[in-house]
Symmetry: D4
């Protein structure tokens, strides 16, 4: 935890046996531990007494063992903005990671720039955050527009939503990286976890 | 000319000898002819009497022989919107092609979305066009924002402006193609000529 | 609807729960709404009373709620040309979107350029359209040939039909963008919806 | 300046005429303005009285007009770490941008991970920064190692240093994005300016 | 020569010293030898007595030593079709290689498919060849149209003519490979030499 | 059939309904017709009386209706060489296409160049063919070695066999295109059909 | 076996029938033979008497027939280092191949560089090997760090572990190839077999 | 030097000032130091007294200061095989690096596989090496053929020789990585230095 944020267990290419062993080791040691990319089917495959150790959320496909953060320590200051309904799984991965790490972060959804007024209606609220996480797929035009409107640092999370040239999320990733709005930051496609970890590192330097 | 727009001479990979021969043939036949991607150095290399046949513009790197369109036939209805100063050569290729084909098209520049208010200030003017050509490099976020604000068809021309992931214009091209604004149309990177030709085809179907 | 065409609901990366909620909201508000990329299995998964609200077509994978366009308002002028039978789902997405938006558009299929005479036989009919949507996969040679033969604007829809270098539709997309026929326009791979939306924007500027 | 950082003038694809016009406009208005990617040859090409308006640095290829930040306002807290000597132009672009924006940021160079002890020797110093900017080309392994050792947010700037698969900087960019160190942030290849702008946005939320 | 065609000397990445040494060795041994991708500047740099050994053509950038094929042995049967003037250097590389190998092959130029009638006018002539070499850049639509019209084998040579997505010739290459015309064959981008060598291998199996 | 080879029906992206309709139309008209990429499951899904019309081979996934070529007309002269057992489906697609078009072509398998002696043992046999089709995946080194050893034209069919950088067949395709053996020809990845069609076009020019 | 290592049977694109035939041929001839990429389902599909001939390991998906290497011949000297648990299937493919070829190689797992101390704790042990095989996915930063710390040759095996830009393993592959640590060697993504074969070739030149 | 091989100075993206400073520091300290990618023009630009410190070779573009390895310590055992004359600069970078590190390595050139007998003639000599470095561009078929014929470890160095799909060396790199010859190892494109460093690491484990 020397870096302010702990590593999490990325379950996508782990076998059920591996996941269960890691969970039992953490639970035995009384360690809190976050699991990401944990598919519902993988949860089903766990032994029932293992499953009972987990707080699981199927939309974000995240789980943790060891309970919530200590009461009274939860902070705010981070906000999550998502372009469309399709981006909610990625936005939720960020929100759940933040929750696990002691932050309560609202998700403002469906503010894609094809209908600019939807974003404008929520702008005051967004301007209140100290760190903004933005999730968008397709062409990711939301990133530049948003970063041009707020003075907080904006972390772009390109989502693998789309087809043709935007299949896999590369078009949105490149929009984030090539943005003409100064100071936009990027993480890997679909990496809601990484965006949340970075936001927590920033908040660690900001005293309330 | 069965398609409403004539072919032009793309000079980029032609030798000086080839360009001169094509020009002489057209001039001898009294044919009007448009040359694109004609570098200043290539114009310098022409025989002086050939150079004298051309109306050349170094910013757009376009030239034509055979004089302007017949007086009294020039139409308007097409507008060109450019995100930044770096996009002006491409925007000018469109404007000059339109001029050659009988259309007078204003260029509205420096309205990139990193500063949204700059676009908003010009919006009423832009909404007056029947066909809009939009030129942008970097991440091309302008395309989606614009197409979400006007009811005219919008033709995106991605510009090869930028570096890193936007070098060569692919990031802007993919933004245009993946746009979540319904009905955005695209041509090849830097293809101001093609966008103008398409606009003329559309205007050919629209009676004043 | 400020842009002349409404947004549609792209169902590909939405959960059943999300789709159903959007449908119920639209139906309750008496709003007409188009759904694209709606797989038969997703329709099956809807509650029966929701399914009953939809006019669904499994070939194009489109649906709408709120009934057909008002009687007596349907226009023509747009035509759809498809290279092969494999391109019909994409061509149908365009046709159904046009139908939803108040246009009746015939589909002329199986006119790929490997057998040029098939295209030539239908040329007069195609020349009658004011806007042409062309759908082709593989190498997309149809786009250039067609755009060189008609004076209406042509919108190319590259289809993700093919294998090897044409798997995913990129070869056809690049053919459309690099076409030496002046004025060809392109939308994203498989984006029949976007081509139809663009055609409607053009037709909005053309009075009958 | 609503976003906490002003836009700068990216000179790479602007003509001498354009750059000069922008400079004169800013100087006349008494506005401070930053120019990036300004090649020595482009500076030479300016009129002498224009050149005299600029504080130019050839290593970073940056210049500004309007003088230094107001005395007594310069803050620290941001540090720049560069893997090798080849990364210094990019690191300097970040340092100069920070200087223009009122931050004094030391550059710690030649700490690439092929010789890990070089990095370890400077670790305490690096751990003192509130925001770390890391510049590396080739495979960019420095990013992950560094982000695993410090608790400040780390902004990776991939440099277009290398050849073969690392030519152009994509290998380093992908290393930054795919890093297994939680919370690493990325900007475009060679984008020292963008990293500095993001650091300033973060520092704007951190009171001394 | 066990394969029916000799290797040629690809000069593109050889130093002047290397080329001169190879030439002298061949001339001393009285061997006929073909040089490709030999730039005018490289010919200039040769010692005058070496230059005198070469039959050099600057358009195709080919040269040979050892004189023409034996009189009375020259065959015909191979034809070369080029889409535009820009494709002539590549078409000439094929023609000159064929000449060196004992075949006289006419070049039919400027028959790109954007103006289909230009191709149709020359069709009977093209149908007379036993092997057809087709050269085209941009989107390479010529390949499919041609292969659908003739019963001879067609060898596509994609040319690196174009910009944006067709820069470098990949779009034309993919059109050739993905062609829906059965039996189209392809060689590398700009490889006029290879197409000629393949044509000679075919002609070696066809007795007059 | 003006091109010497008929088009075939590529079933990969056609629905069962479409395939059945095409089959019935051909059978009713008494037309022989070849189907490629026809999966066993798709054959199973046909109505039994339709299935009965087909001569189906599950390894090559090809089928035809209308019976074998007329007795007494079958020619030889074409040979197929495959690097490994994994390449047999693609090799069989070529062999079956040739059979449908009236050619009997032996398949020489398991002669990949990692064990060069295996190829050498079969060399005399291979040298007897007038046209050679070579199928190889992984790195496709077989193509260059083979084309350097025989004087017949060699058609390379890259197979989508392999993983990592050779997944999808691009590495083998590029080996074929970049081969330093003069005169190697290429078709699309996995395109056994196209290679066979090209071989038939060549054989059409070669009288027995 | 002229190369010191025998070829193995890559089962990934072979049918059950093909695998069974190869196995029976080897067993009948009393030949030892290694099978890689043999999925559990493919083993299940074998006839029971065939299955009984195999020593199968589902984690590495490897099998062999013909029994273990002769007793008393097993050597050590090769070590395998894996960044995370997700890399164990690839690491095991290497370990099992080494076992088949007569080498006993320990696997040191979970030493990724995001937590550098984990690697440092095992460094003495790793420094004892004469050849090191390193397996890592994501960004593959482990390769450079490791190769900068040991004097044995290091063979990098990039693993197809990750998502977004690291999906498929290309990011890790490029890190290995572009490494700034002198003398790092690479094999294809997921190619544990190839790394082991190379290690055996090296050990063949090193006498105990 | 803890890794058995020292880092070298990659001059490609360093300024003349930087190179000179590094050289003077090494010379003052009496340290031997290798410089790679040092263009003749960069050597010319050095101060004469600096130039005098260097043993420079323009073909390999390498230089060193500090004199040759101590007399009497030079070993052999490493051989370099190059496919063509164009590959000699890369082969020489490997040979010069080996010389600097105390190894005398012969270069066997012009043995590309398009003429297999050329390789076969030199095979016995090649089989005498304990480590083989192979350099090839174009399609890199030499790598697989060679690795299938010798029992020493083979290190492939793909060269950026070729055009079209082999421009930049990626086709040869992928051939090396995807090779079906077990145990082939790869370094980055043009990385003769890295191949030599790896060979030295191997030889460090092999006692004479
Ligand atoms: N969703 C995620 N995206 C990116 N990295 C993750 C994610 N979840 C976990 N990680 C990190 O990925 C690595 C996984 O390591 P391991 O679980 O050992 O394979 C650790 O560094 C985690 O902190
Ligand atoms: N700037 C341009 N961008 C795209 N296509 C062009 C441009 N200029 C000319 N063309 C077209 O490209 C083709 C050039 O053909 P050619 O001049 O014969 O090589 C013609 O079809 C032109 O209409
Ligand atoms: N088939 C389609 N192709 C492209 N865009 C679409 C399609 N269907 C809907 N859209 C647009 O994609 C966006 C989907 O947004 P949402 O439904 O909020 O995720 C909207 O802007 C739609 O208008
Ligand atoms: N896991 C593996 N990775 C890379 N190459 C392999 C692997 N397993 C087997 N091979 C090689 O791949 C080729 C497979 O040939 P075949 O079994 O004839 O298709 C042989 O050269 C094998 O030695
Ligand atoms: Mg979006
Ligand atoms: Mg822009
Ligand atoms: Mg098609
Ligand atoms: Mg570095
Ligand atoms: Mg062309
Ligand atoms: Mg193979
Ligand atoms: Mg890793
Ligand atoms: Mg080679």
């Amino acid at each position: 935890r020397r870096t302010g944020v702990p590593e999490a267990v990325l379950c996508a290419s782990k076998s059920g046996t591996q996941i269960q062993a890691i969970l039992i080791a953490a639970a035995s040691a009384g360690r809190r531990l976050l699991f990401t990319r944990l598919e519902p089917a993988a949860v089903e495959a766990l032994a029932p007494e293992c499953r009972a150790l987990l707080d699981y959320d199927p939309i974000s496909r995240t789980a943790w063992c060891g309970g919530p953060p200590p009461a009274g320590t939860v902070r705010d200051g981070v906000g999550i903005v998502a372009a469309g309904t399709s981006d909610l799984p990625v936005a939720s991965e960020a929100a759940r990671t933040l929750e696990f790490l002691g932050f309560s972060a609202p998700v403002i959804a469906d503010v894609g720039v094809a209908g600019l007024w939807r974003l404008m209606r929520r702008l005051e609220e967004i301007r209140g955050f100290r760190v903004v996480i933005a999730v968008a797929g397709m062409e990711g035009a939301l990133f530049s527009v948003l970063a041009g409107l707020v003075d907080a640092p904006v972390i772009a999370v390109p989502a693998s939503v789309g087809y043709g040239v935007s299949a896999g999320g590369t078009a949105a990733l490149h929009s984030a990286l090539a943005s003409c709005a100064p100071g936009l930051l990027t993480v890997n496609i679909d990496n809601g976890f990484g965006a949340a970890a970075a936001a927590v590192k920033m908040m660690g330097k900001i005293k309330d």
